[in-house]
């Protein structure tokens, strides 16, 4: 029993010694001496021992704390450290400011960056203009008769429809102008129109027809579509700067100019426009002012145009030429300012296909009454004396024409049905009833005889003007037109005059309103008109076979036409213009 106890005691002592040694090591690691750990290196092998021995050299490992520095050195180091910190802070602040500044500049640049479409729109905006011109109003026809239209889209029912009234849109331009460069201008102007007619095929030559596409309501069509060169004569001299060359569906030299002169186009048409000369045709024209020392002494327009107007199909193989020149002897400061003298000439042809030229035309029982009228030429000319001031303007005009006012032009407002479509019995074959008993047939045949032949001469005189009523937004406007559709006819029942008087209110820069009365009066007395005399112009009053009786019986024409003078038309109107 004693031996194990001894062994256990020795083992316990050894274990305690080893544990003590380990604890001392741990103690070193936990709290190292300020001088570190001292070991002993064998000089030969380099092995380290905890205890000294032969050939071993003491080696101290661990923190080798320097000796405490003197106080001034520490303070210097502290100062250097502080200075370094401040420099770092300053550098940081500077960098921060620079970064903020750069961010702001970047943001500014980003803000200025514009999408491509904005740049495109800016360029586009400076190169186009869009506007509109609308005429509308209310018309009360206290008396209705046959006659020319006041202007496009202005038709009314014929005699027997007194107090007919209507609200109308007479014009609705959409004006598009494009200016790709200062030299060139493109204009597109669709306009509203009122379609009339039955949906039957329309003949477009002697041997062909086209189906109708009439819709019977307000439609849009191109009124103006032109390409314009704005420096056509700039090369010639300073005096001709701004003269323009136009091609396409363009205004002719006379009508638009005269509408500017009269100033009240939205109320009624100018004289030749009323008589059938449209304001636009397809063609080529040169126009512009001639100026010296900033004053305009001449203004002209000349061109070659289709015989058809802008809304018609050109059928002829000829063209018409028109020219106008206005002279301002004292120089005009703006447009037509001051005293002016104007001349206009138009030479053209009927809009008829070439293969119709060799065919005779006529009316009723005589299909050859007018001869080759389809091939006849026509002329229109006018001479004007005018004076325009800021507050007023007046113009006097003399007109003369040749074959320029057929019955179709007289009846653009409305006309007798039997003028456009004579009764079936009004033919060389005759029928069972007399055409001469059909209402308005004799009047229609007379009109055709007097105006449908190729030897007609027209003559007219016009006076128009406007004056501002001082201290008011009102102007007085007026137009008088006297016209002989065929001056070769004595006591022509179709001679007429028309007049318009009204008050115009300039509501603002874009809107005008006029209250006016427009009147068409065929001024001759109702004297019976000889059919023999009518036949001297065109042989349309012929006996018509009476097929009911037969045996050579005929329906004889009357010796005279009773009540040959058409009824007057009187209208009270409210006209509105919106121009933007």
């Amino acid at each position: 029993m004693n031996s194990p106890r001894w062994k256990r005691a020795v083992a316990s002592a050894v274990a305690g010694a080893m544990l003590a040694a380990n604890l001392s090591t741990l103690a070193f690691a936990q709290s190292p001496s300020p001088r570190g750990i001292t070991l002993y290196e064998d000089a030969k092998t380099g092995a380290l021992y905890r205890k000294p021995g032969r050939g071993r050299v003491a080696v101290t490992l661990g923190f080798d704390e320097p000796a405490p520095a003197p106080a001034p050195v520490v303070e210097k180091q502290v100062q250097e450290l502080k200075q370094s910190n401040e420099e770092l802070r300053a550098e940081f602040d500077s960098s921060q400011q620079k970064l903020l500044s750069e961010n702001a500049a970047l943001q500014t640049r980003v803000d200025k960056i514009e999408p491509a479409w904005i740049d495109y729109l800016d360029n586009f905006r400076n190169r186009y203009r869009v506007g509109t011109v609308v005429f509308g109003g209310y018309k009360l026809y206290t008396h209705t008769g046959f006659g020319p239209q006041q202007y496009d889209n202005n038709q009314w029912p014929g005699p027997g429809n007194n107090l007919y009234n209507s609200f109308d849109i007479d014009r609705a331009y959409l004006n598009f102008y494009f200016f790709p460069t200062p030299d060139w201008t493109l204009r597109l102007t669709p306009d509203v129109y009122k379609s009339y007619g039955t949906a039957t095929p329309t003949s477009n030559s002697h041997n062909s027809s086209v189906s109708s596409n009439l819709a019977g309501d307000l439609n849009y069509r191109i009124k103006f579509a032109s390409i314009q060169y704005n420096k056509a004569l700039d090369w010639l001299s300073d005096a001709t700067e701004g003269n323009v060359l136009q091609i396409g569906a363009i205004p002719n030299p006379m009508i638009p100019w005269e509408e500017h002169l009269s100033t009240f186009r939205y109320v009624t048409a100018s004289p030749w426009n009323y008589l059938g000369l449209s304001s636009a045709q397809f063609g080529l024209s040169l126009s512009g002012p001639v100026k010296f020392n900033e004053l305009e002494y001449f203004d002209y327009g000349a061109g070659v145009f289709t015989n058809a107007k802008y809304s018609q199909l050109e059928q002829s193989n000829t063209k018409q030429v028109m020219g106008r020149i206005s002279a301002y002897p004292f120089g005009s400061k703006w447009d037509t300012q001051g005293l002016g003298i104007t001349g206009f000439y138009d030479y053209g042809y009927n809009n008829a296909p070439p293969d119709n030229a060799s065919l005779n035309t006529g009316f009723g029982p005589n299909p050859n009454a007018f001869g080759h009228v389809a091939n006849a030429h026509l002329t229109r000319w006018a001479a004007l004396l005018h004076y325009t001031a800021e507050e007023w303007g007046i113009a006097a005009e003399y007109d003369q024409g040749h074959n320029s006012f057929p019955g179709a032009n007289l009846f653009t407002g409305n006309g007798p049905t039997v003028f456009f479509t004579p009764p079936a019995t009004a033919t060389a074959a005759g029928g069972t009833t007399s055409p001469y008993g059909v209402p308005y047939y004799n009047f229609s045949a007379m009109t055709a005889a007097l105006l449908g032949n190729s030897r007609t001469v027209q003559q007219g005189f016009d006076l128009m003007g406007h004056v501002h009523i001082p201290e008011t937004p009102l102007r007085l406007i007026g137009l008088f037109q006297w016209f002989e559709p065929n001056s070769k006819v004595n006591n022509d029942p179709l001679d007429f005059y028309r007049y318009m008087v009204g008050v115009e209110w300039q509501i603002n820069e874009f809107v005008r309103l006029a209250v006016d009365t427009q009147n068409l009066q065929f001024y001759h007395d109702q004297t019976p008109f000889s059919t023999t005399y009518a036949n001297s112009f065109a042989d349309v009053f012929l006996p018509v076979p009476n097929t009911k009786t037969g045996k050579g019986a005929v329906f004889a024409p009357p010796s005279s036409i009773t009540d040959p003078v058409p009824r007057d038309t009187h209208v009270v109107e409210l006209n509105l213009e919106f121009a933007f």
């Binding site: 869009v130 506007g131 300039q506």
Partner: protein, 89 residues
Amino acid sequence: MERIKPRLAYLALAATLAACARFTALSPATWGASGNTSQTSAHLIPRVQNCGVLDAGSPSRFVCNGKVYTSFQLAKLRENEAKKYASGQ
């Protein structure tokens, strides 16, 4: 020397009369346009109701006191005047 003095007097009188004649030749309506007063100043801006119509179109043009304006120019002048009036300037 004595001959020169009457001539100078005549010249001075003529110049005075000419100046007076020019002043009286200017009507009140033209003062604004003659340069002493701006066209855009109160009561002298061109009003379309007092202008002559040159052309009804896109845009319409008018002539006022010898100067041609578009409808937009006249409208802007009128609106600016109304703003000035509203702000009490």
